[in-house]
Symmetry: C2
Subunit: 188 residues, 2 copies
DNA sequence: AGCTCTTGACTGAATATTCAGTCAGGATTA
DNA sequence: TAATCCTGACTGAATATTCAGTCAAGAGCT
């Protein structure tokens, strides 16, 4: 992986965050990375190859990012930080969120993307699950973790589309957390 | 709305379910509807017009669909039916779900889609909110409704990508419902 | 050191492909 | 027959892809 290759992948990720997977133009990526179009073909064979490499890259970055941040006084603080970290007024976070959102949406149509995506999701889930165990959540924390991460993605979709403000989105997540870590009577 | 126009919109919806909004090719739609490409231009002016009409159509169908199904003995049954109706082993449901998912993902990049999308979402939300009130949910049912509908979308993304089975997805939704309609101590 | 030989990284220009959109006119119906 | 509905053949612009060739750096030889 030469520095140029890396620059290209980062440029491609930025382009995806700006135009989406389907709106990705190899010329734009080349311009963004300040290299010739041909170089992309030299390194990644064709548009599809570039796309695959970029999506892998996005996947990796998302995974790193989620595993990194975990600071907080109490266990609950850490759980909240872990989940709310995805939804913030910060260009990098937003860009990453858009890219992840695209990845998820694209996977519906391209089976090839599913495996790495599922893997990253599983890692994220287990991280959340551990945090849930830490706060002493009752119930099946495996299920709860999946619910929370899926909720993040659902809320993100609306946040990114401008349907929810950052504050509102974060409040929803917090509310959900508080409800979910509480035991349920389940008296139907 | 001539029969042909209707056929075109349905064909377009099928194409979207297969390739996504951004993968929609007017030629494909024409072929799927078994009419000439030109006819699409005759009726819908251009690709964008076709898209707008199709998305309206999908939007309408989704709305109808959500509002229709509400049967159930108890209030809780009705709430569950309202939410679980989106995730079922049924080709039509799945197709509609994919289209809706695409709509949501595309709106991140195309501001024009946001308004009708937000409107349909709001209608759905208030419907869910009413159902929550019926079951006597405690807390801010407005927030809870938004959380639940966002959760459906998040879970749908994974269900459509094959990451969750239909059963698993439905179980998660049910679990979330039971937790959310229960009062929270929120003793932090 | 100085001299080839080789290879990987890279480019600009040319070519191939894809796709939305047009148009002249043929069918069908009121 | 006049309006509406519809089609096949076509075009131009945007894009992906190819290719012949440059350049810098390292390996091996004398």
């Amino acid at each position: 992986m030469t520095p140029r290759q890396d620059a290209i992948l980062q440029a491609a990720a930025r382009c995806i965050a700006r135009q989406g997977v389907r709106g990705l133009r190899v010329h734009d990526v080349a311009a963004e990375a300040d290299v010739s179009t041909s170089l992309l073909y030299y390194h990644f064979t064709d548009r599809e190859g570039l796309l695959a490499a970029t999506l892998d890259h996005i996947n990796d970055v998302s995974a790193d990012h989620r595993l990194a941040r975990a600071a907080g006084e109490t266990a609950l603080d850490r759980l909240e930080a872990l989940l709310l970290g995805e939804i913030r007024d910060d260009d990098d976070i937003r860009t990453g969120s858009i890219a992840w959102n695209e990845l998820r949406a694209t996977a519906v149509f391209e089976a090839g993307l599913r495996e790495p995506l599922a893997h990253t999701t599983a890692t994220w889930n287990s991280r959340v699950r551990a945090a849930l165990d830490d706060v002493g959540a009752s119930g099946d924390t495996d299920h709860l973790a999946t619910i929370l991460t899926a909720l993040i993605e659902g809320v993100s979709g609306r946040w990114l589309g401008g349907e929810l403000s950052t504050d509102h989105a974060r409040t929803l997540i917090r509310t959900a957390i508080h409800h979910l870590i509480t035991a349920t009577g389940k008296s139907t």
